[in-house]
Protein backbone atom coordinates (compact mmCIF):
# COMPACT_ATOMS: atom_id res chain seq x y z
CA UNK A 1 0.00 0.00 0.00
CA UNK A 2 1.31 3.30 -0.98
CA UNK A 3 0.41 5.99 1.48
CA UNK A 4 1.34 9.59 2.01
CA UNK A 5 1.28 10.81 5.55
CA UNK A 6 1.24 14.53 5.85
CA UNK A 7 1.16 16.60 8.94
CA UNK A 8 0.49 20.28 9.05
CA UNK A 9 1.40 22.26 12.09
CA UNK A 10 -0.21 25.63 12.37
CA UNK A 11 1.55 27.91 14.79
CA UNK A 12 -0.58 30.68 16.19
CA UNK A 13 1.10 33.19 18.45
CA UNK A 14 -1.10 34.73 21.14
CA UNK A 15 -0.12 38.00 22.79
CA UNK A 16 -1.97 39.46 25.78
CA UNK A 17 -0.79 42.93 26.75
CA UNK A 18 -2.01 44.00 30.18
CA UNK A 19 -1.30 47.72 30.33
CA UNK A 20 -2.00 50.97 28.48
CA UNK A 21 -1.28 50.73 24.77
CA UNK A 22 -0.34 54.32 24.16
CA UNK A 23 2.27 56.20 22.19
CA UNK A 24 4.88 55.53 24.85
CA UNK A 25 4.20 51.79 25.12
CA UNK A 26 3.62 51.23 21.40
CA UNK A 27 7.27 50.82 20.28
CA UNK A 28 7.82 47.99 22.76
CA UNK A 29 4.72 46.16 21.54
CA UNK A 30 5.74 46.74 17.92
CA UNK A 31 9.10 45.12 18.59
CA UNK A 32 7.56 42.13 20.35
CA UNK A 33 5.09 41.59 17.53
CA UNK A 34 7.81 41.82 14.90
CA UNK A 35 9.79 39.15 16.69
CA UNK A 36 6.74 36.90 16.79
CA UNK A 37 5.93 37.58 13.14
CA UNK A 38 9.39 36.34 12.20
CA UNK A 39 8.26 32.90 13.47
CA UNK A 40 4.61 32.74 12.42
CA UNK A 41 2.17 34.68 10.28
CA UNK A 42 -0.86 33.98 12.49
CA UNK A 43 -1.20 36.18 15.47
CA UNK A 44 -3.93 36.73 18.04
CA UNK A 45 -3.66 40.01 19.96
CA UNK A 46 -5.75 39.65 23.05
CA UNK A 47 -6.83 43.17 24.04
CA UNK A 48 -9.18 42.00 26.79
CA UNK A 49 -7.02 43.34 29.63
CA UNK A 50 -5.92 46.54 27.90
CA UNK A 51 -7.45 49.55 29.67
CA UNK A 52 -6.57 52.21 27.06
CA UNK A 53 -5.55 52.24 23.39
CA UNK A 54 -4.60 55.38 21.50
CA UNK A 55 -3.95 55.84 17.79
CA UNK A 56 -0.28 54.96 18.19
CA UNK A 57 -1.33 51.64 19.73
CA UNK A 58 -3.81 51.16 16.91
CA UNK A 59 -1.05 51.84 14.36
CA UNK A 60 0.94 48.94 15.80
CA UNK A 61 -2.05 46.64 15.32
CA UNK A 62 -2.48 47.70 11.70
CA UNK A 63 1.18 47.34 10.79
CA UNK A 64 1.30 43.84 12.31
CA UNK A 65 -1.85 42.92 10.40
CA UNK A 66 -0.43 44.21 7.10
CA UNK A 67 2.77 42.26 7.60
CA UNK A 68 0.93 39.07 8.53
CA UNK A 69 -1.44 39.31 5.56
CA UNK A 70 1.49 39.88 3.19
CA UNK A 71 2.93 36.62 4.44
CA UNK A 72 -0.39 34.84 3.86
CA UNK A 73 -1.48 34.94 7.50
CA UNK A 74 -3.54 37.33 9.58
CA UNK A 75 -3.81 39.17 12.88
CA UNK A 76 -7.01 38.64 14.84
CA UNK A 77 -8.07 40.74 17.81
CA UNK A 78 -9.84 39.82 21.02
CA UNK A 79 -12.13 42.68 22.05
CA UNK A 80 -11.07 44.87 24.98
CA UNK A 81 -13.26 44.35 28.04
CA UNK A 82 -13.41 48.09 28.63
CA UNK A 83 -16.52 49.38 26.97
CA UNK A 84 -15.09 52.78 26.07
CA UNK A 85 -12.11 51.14 24.38
CA UNK A 86 -14.49 48.92 22.37
CA UNK A 87 -16.38 51.97 21.17
CA UNK A 88 -13.21 53.45 19.69
CA UNK A 89 -12.68 50.28 17.64
CA UNK A 90 -16.21 50.68 16.26
CA UNK A 91 -15.71 54.40 15.63
CA UNK A 92 -12.54 53.83 13.59
CA UNK A 93 -14.12 50.79 11.87
CA UNK A 94 -11.30 48.59 13.11
CA UNK A 95 -13.91 45.94 13.87
CA UNK A 96 -14.53 45.63 10.11
CA UNK A 97 -10.88 45.51 9.12
CA UNK A 98 -9.82 42.95 11.70
CA UNK A 99 -11.40 39.60 12.45
CA UNK A 100 -12.66 40.24 15.98
CA UNK A 101 -13.38 37.61 18.65
CA UNK A 102 -14.76 37.63 22.15
CA UNK A 103 -12.21 35.23 23.59
CA UNK A 104 -8.79 33.86 22.73
CA UNK A 105 -10.33 30.41 22.06
CA UNK A 106 -12.78 31.88 19.58
CA UNK A 107 -9.96 33.77 17.89
CA UNK A 108 -7.74 30.71 17.45
CA UNK A 109 -10.53 28.42 16.28
CA UNK A 110 -10.41 27.85 12.52
CA UNK A 111 -7.54 30.28 12.17
Amino acid sequence: MELTVYEEIVRIAIVSPKSRLDAFAAPELRERLETLLAGTNRLVIDLSAVPFIDSAGMAVLVSAMKRARQAGGDVRLVWPTDDAARRILYLTKFDRVFVMADTVEAATKEF
Partner: protein, 143 residues
Protein backbone atom coordinates in the same frame (compact mmCIF):
# COMPACT_ATOMS: atom_id res chain seq x y z
CA UNK B 1 -16.69 75.31 44.17
CA UNK B 2 -15.78 78.41 42.20
CA UNK B 3 -16.54 79.24 38.58
CA UNK B 4 -12.88 79.19 37.74
CA UNK B 5 -11.60 75.89 39.06
CA UNK B 6 -8.44 75.68 37.01
CA UNK B 7 -5.56 73.27 37.09
CA UNK B 8 -2.28 73.73 35.22
CA UNK B 9 0.11 70.96 34.33
CA UNK B 10 3.42 71.73 32.72
CA UNK B 11 5.52 68.81 31.52
CA UNK B 12 8.35 67.74 29.25
CA UNK B 13 7.14 67.14 25.68
CA UNK B 14 7.88 63.43 25.95
CA UNK B 15 5.59 60.51 25.23
CA UNK B 16 6.73 58.96 28.49
CA UNK B 17 4.61 61.11 30.78
CA UNK B 18 1.43 61.47 28.74
CA UNK B 19 -0.19 59.05 31.20
CA UNK B 20 0.04 61.83 33.81
CA UNK B 21 -2.27 63.97 31.68
CA UNK B 22 -4.79 61.13 31.49
CA UNK B 23 -4.58 60.49 35.23
CA UNK B 24 -5.03 64.18 36.04
CA UNK B 25 -8.09 64.46 33.82
CA UNK B 26 -9.71 61.45 35.48
CA UNK B 27 -8.95 62.69 38.99
CA UNK B 28 -10.11 66.22 38.21
CA UNK B 29 -13.41 64.98 36.76
CA UNK B 30 -13.95 62.59 39.67
CA UNK B 31 -14.16 65.58 41.99
CA UNK B 32 -15.79 68.12 39.70
CA UNK B 33 -19.17 67.92 41.41
CA UNK B 34 -21.02 66.36 38.47
CA UNK B 35 -21.10 62.61 37.97
CA UNK B 36 -19.17 61.90 34.76
CA UNK B 37 -19.46 58.48 33.12
CA UNK B 38 -16.48 56.33 32.25
CA UNK B 39 -16.86 56.72 28.48
CA UNK B 40 -16.83 60.51 28.70
CA UNK B 41 -13.66 60.40 30.81
CA UNK B 42 -12.04 57.89 28.44
CA UNK B 43 -12.91 59.87 25.32
CA UNK B 44 -11.56 63.08 26.82
CA UNK B 45 -8.36 61.34 27.88
CA UNK B 46 -7.96 59.86 24.41
CA UNK B 47 -8.50 63.12 22.52
CA UNK B 48 -6.08 65.00 24.79
CA UNK B 49 -3.52 62.21 24.56
CA UNK B 50 -3.72 62.36 20.75
CA UNK B 51 -3.21 66.12 20.76
CA UNK B 52 -0.23 65.82 23.11
CA UNK B 53 1.29 63.04 21.00
CA UNK B 54 1.06 65.29 17.95
CA UNK B 55 2.80 68.10 19.80
CA UNK B 56 5.65 65.78 20.79
CA UNK B 57 5.99 64.14 17.37
CA UNK B 58 5.22 66.96 14.99
CA UNK B 59 5.33 70.40 16.65
CA UNK B 60 8.54 69.55 18.51
CA UNK B 61 9.96 67.22 15.85
CA UNK B 62 13.18 69.24 15.95
CA UNK B 63 13.16 70.12 19.64
CA UNK B 64 13.58 67.38 22.20
CA UNK B 65 13.62 69.85 25.11
CA UNK B 66 10.19 71.35 24.42
CA UNK B 67 7.43 71.50 27.00
CA UNK B 68 3.67 71.09 26.95
CA UNK B 69 1.37 73.12 29.12
CA UNK B 70 -2.04 71.64 29.91
CA UNK B 71 -4.74 73.78 31.44
CA UNK B 72 -7.92 72.12 32.72
CA UNK B 73 -10.91 74.33 33.53
CA UNK B 74 -14.40 73.42 34.63
CA UNK B 75 -17.10 75.45 32.92
CA UNK B 76 -20.65 75.56 34.29
CA UNK B 77 -24.13 75.56 32.82
CA UNK B 78 -23.92 73.14 31.24
CA UNK B 79 -20.98 71.41 32.93
CA UNK B 80 -18.06 71.20 30.51
CA UNK B 81 -14.34 70.56 30.74
CA UNK B 82 -12.08 72.88 28.78
CA UNK B 83 -8.61 71.56 27.97
CA UNK B 84 -6.10 74.03 26.63
CA UNK B 85 -2.76 72.77 25.34
CA UNK B 86 0.08 75.18 24.65
CA UNK B 87 3.43 74.56 23.04
CA UNK B 88 6.19 76.64 21.52
CA UNK B 89 6.90 74.37 18.56
CA UNK B 90 6.02 74.55 14.90
CA UNK B 91 2.62 76.17 14.29
CA UNK B 92 -0.02 73.94 12.77
CA UNK B 93 -3.78 74.16 12.45
CA UNK B 94 -5.34 70.76 13.13
CA UNK B 95 -8.75 71.98 11.97
CA UNK B 96 -7.39 72.28 8.41
CA UNK B 97 -6.46 68.61 8.02
CA UNK B 98 -8.52 66.16 5.97
CA UNK B 99 -9.94 63.26 7.89
CA UNK B 100 -8.94 59.69 7.02
CA UNK B 101 -11.03 57.40 4.84
CA UNK B 102 -12.12 54.87 7.45
CA UNK B 103 -12.83 52.21 4.84
CA UNK B 104 -9.13 52.13 3.94
CA UNK B 105 -7.35 51.10 7.11
CA UNK B 106 -4.04 52.91 7.49
CA UNK B 107 -1.04 52.95 9.79
CA UNK B 108 -1.47 56.19 11.71
CA UNK B 109 -3.45 59.24 10.75
CA UNK B 110 -6.31 58.68 13.21
CA UNK B 111 -5.23 61.24 15.79
CA UNK B 112 -6.98 64.35 14.46
CA UNK B 113 -10.02 62.28 13.53
CA UNK B 114 -10.33 61.10 17.14
CA UNK B 115 -9.88 64.62 18.51
CA UNK B 116 -12.59 65.98 16.24
CA UNK B 117 -14.95 63.07 16.80
CA UNK B 118 -14.65 62.92 20.56
CA UNK B 119 -14.55 66.57 21.63
CA UNK B 120 -17.48 68.96 21.31
CA UNK B 121 -15.47 72.03 20.35
CA UNK B 122 -11.96 72.27 18.93
CA UNK B 123 -10.28 75.56 18.15
CA UNK B 124 -6.75 76.62 17.42
CA UNK B 125 -4.93 79.84 17.95
CA UNK B 126 -1.37 80.73 17.00
CA UNK B 127 0.54 83.64 18.49
CA UNK B 128 4.23 84.05 17.64
CA UNK B 129 6.03 81.51 19.81
CA UNK B 130 2.87 79.91 21.21
CA UNK B 131 0.39 77.45 19.74
CA UNK B 132 -2.79 77.02 21.67
CA UNK B 133 -5.24 74.19 21.05
CA UNK B 134 -8.50 74.52 22.93
CA UNK B 135 -10.90 71.59 23.29
CA UNK B 136 -14.19 71.52 25.14
CA UNK B 137 -16.04 68.41 26.26
CA UNK B 138 -19.59 68.41 27.63
CA UNK B 139 -19.78 66.41 30.84
CA UNK B 140 -22.99 64.66 29.94
CA UNK B 141 -23.12 61.02 29.03
CA UNK B 142 -21.29 59.67 25.95
CA UNK B 143 -23.28 56.43 26.15
Amino acid sequence: MSECDTLHLDMPASLRYLNVVSASIAAFLERCGTPVDHTTIYNTQLAVQEACTNIVRHAYAENAAGRISVCLTLLRMPPRLRVELSDTGRPFDPCAVELPDLDEVQIGGYGLFLIQSLMDEVSYDFQPGCNRLCMVKRLTSDE
